[in-house]
């Protein structure tokens, strides 16, 4: 459905200058540096997938989304989405996609939400019958009933984001691009948005590509992640595999009866220690968890033990470090 091959894009960025003299000079002459935003990016996405597109700030996530949604023309490479090349036949192509930019609104600020929807109906030339069915469904699943008649400026961020997502789905697109859809939302709204994305994916088979910095989004939604950094593709695959490959550390927290003798168990690192409580970190590739617990139970009177996998956030941080991005 979506196929990118060797997509490259570079930007000409004026060199920042410091000092008054330099700043004055730059009024007349500016030095430019070429920044490679994307370097030979290739991937393919099948219909009905939810793909998390992650990477640190400035990695090129937004640029990729912009290329895939037909806003930008890449310097090189091919991209075919539903048989279209996004940057050619822009008008025909964009009828098939919905785009949400988390940081920017697509609604008309001073009028009730429903008025924006009506205008979008005309912009996308949605047949009245289809419009009604889709709208009813969106109102129901996103719980918009009470807010649809309020002007956008009076809505909370969470309410607004629900309306934004609804607005980008009115024309029944096959693909939905979400650029940081949960940015700035509270926990309840985040869960509502995630739930909805899941629903439309399962019930309507909408293919979803989302970028985010919130790894919980990814864990809740995407079975596949694509990681980019400094414009290059670093990882493309299942999230569990990512965990297996990079998340081999586990944390063991143990509570026990008072024990003043410090102990050392081979293959573990002590993160925290007190007479009644200790936190150990182990590498499961070298040490078996059960061994550690056996040894532990020999040395102290265990009260409680919890074993935690590394949070995905940590794995990502570790990945960023490893790839030096």
């Amino acid at each position: 459905m979506i196929k990118l091959e060797g997509i490259s894009k570079s930007f000409k960025v004026p060199k920042r200058s410091n000092g008054l003299l330099q700043a004055t000079k730059s009024l007349f002459y500016r030095e430019h540096t070429i920044v490679e935003a994307l370097n030979e990016i290739s991937f393919a996405i099948n219909p009905g997938e939810i793909v998390g597109y992650i990477g640190p700030n400035g990695a090129g996530k937004s640029t990729t989304i912009k290329i895939m949604s037909g806003i930008l023309v890449p310097d090189g490479g091919t991209c075919s989405i539903m048989g279209f090349t996004p940057w050619k036949d822009r008008v025909e192509y964009v009828k098939n996609i919905g785009v949400v930019f988390g940081q920017r609104s697509q609604l008309w600020w001073d009028v009730p939400v429903i008025d924006s929807f009506e205008l979008l109906k005309d912009i996308y030339k949605i047949p009245p019958q289809d419009y009604k069915t889709t709208l009813d469904l969106l109102i129901e699943t996103l719980e918009l009933k009470d807010i649809i008649n309020a002007p956008v400026r009076q809505l909370s961020l969470g309410q607004r984001m629900r309306c934004e997502i609804a607005a980008s789905l009115l024309h029944n697109p096959n693909i939905l691009f979400l650029d940081e859809p949960t940015i700035g939302l509270d926990a309840v709204s985040k869960i509502a948005v995630r739930q909805f994305i899941k629903t439309i994916n399962q019930e309507k088979g909408v293919t979803v590509v989302l970028t985010t910095h919130d790894m919980n989004d990814i864990e809740a939604l995407a079975n596949r992640v694509i990681l980019i950094g400094k414009g290059s593709l670093l990882y493309d695959g299942k999230i569990e595999e990512l965990r297996k490959r990079f998340g081999t550390h586990k944390t063991i927290t143990a509570d026990y009866r008072k024990n003043t003798n410090s102990f050392d168990i081979p293959g573990t690192t002590i993160i925290h220690w007190s007479p009644e409580h200790t936190v150990l970190s182990i590498d499961t590739e070298q040490t078996l968890t059960s061994d550690v617990i056996t040894q532990l139970s020999k040395k102290v009177d265990l009260v409680d033990v919890t074993i935690e996998s590394q949070p995905i956030e940590d794995i990502i941080v570790q990945l960023y470090k490893e790839f030096q991005i």
């Binding site: 037909g70 008008v91 964009v94 930019f101 009506e118 030339k125």
Partner: protein
């Protein structure tokens, strides 16, 4: 066109959320050209005429260009304030919607408060027409209509050129005001009172002369030679927008390849 009206409607609704500011701005817009017009009036009070043009003839000239200006500021405001669309990144949104960028930018903003200015120039127009001994014919009425519409198109064209520059500069360029505000100030008098090169510039480069001076000669019966030619000049002037349109398309292409 239908969609353009829908845009108009939704933005009118938005404007009506701020009634007080709407009325105050409209009244302000009524008085700005009013003071300019008062200056014109006193000038003629003192000197009687300029190069064979009397007060009401010049008032007609004034009214036509100001009407065109206020209409263009109202309906093509999207291009006039285009830099804000670029700065806020909202132009990306325009590109992901299945309609022409021209229509969407045009529909992105309207300045309804220009009704004040429009009203003022309409009053001047009626006053001038009532005091001029014109033998009206269908052709003359049509010419007057085309003078205003093609004036709107020329102003819109200039806005488009200025908007296109934003693709490179991001910030809006005050430079364009030389041609919009400046052009308006120049063209509110018949062009033959100026130096030859000024008149030529505003006839052949930015064709304001074709929307009031030349066809005005026809309406006032001051023509020598082929009347039809004078009558058609507004239509020729309106062609100005075509190259502007091409330049705009070029700018959009540039934006999409650089993304600045």
């Amino acid at each position: 066109m239908n969609l353009y009206l829908k845009y108009l409607l939704i933005l009118f609704k938005s404007q009506m959320q701020y009634r007080t500011s709407f009325w105050l701005l409209s009244i302000g817009q009524f008085f700005i050209p009013f003071s300019v017009f008062a200056g014109l009036y006193f000038l003629f009070e003192r000197f009687g005429q300029i190069k064979g043009w009397d007060f009401f003839e010049v008032a007609l000239c004034f009214a036509v260009i100001h009407m065109a200006f206020s209409l263009s500021e109202c309906f093509a405001r999207g291009f006039d304030t285009f830099s804000s669309l670029i700065v806020k990144g909202d132009f990306d949104r325009v590109l992901v919607r299945p309609r022409s960028t021209f229509l969407q930018v045009l529909g992105s903003k309207f300045e309804f408060t220009r009704i004040g200015r429009l009203l003022q120039s309409a009053i001047v127009l009626i006053w001038a027409l009532n005091n001029l001994p014109i033998e009206w014919s269908f052709m003359k009425a049509a010419t007057l209509f085309f003078m205003i519409t093609s004036g709107v198109l020329i102003f819109t064209g200039i806005y488009m050129l200025a908007a296109t520059m934003c693709f490179w500069t991001v910030q809006g360029l005050e430079v364009a005001n030389i041609f919009t505000d400046g052009g308006r100030e120049m063209a509110q008098y018949p062009l033959n009172i100026y130096q030859k090169w000024v008149a030529r510039f505003f006839t052949y480069i930015i064709p304001f002369g074709t929307v009031n001076y030349l066809p005005l000669l026809f309406i006032l019966g001051k023509t020598t030679g082929n009347q039809l030619l004078y009558m058609l000049t507004p239509i020729a002037g309106s062609l100005f927008i075509l190259p502007c349109f091409l330049v705009w398309q070029f700018g959009v292409r540039h934006y999409r390849s650089t993304g600045s």
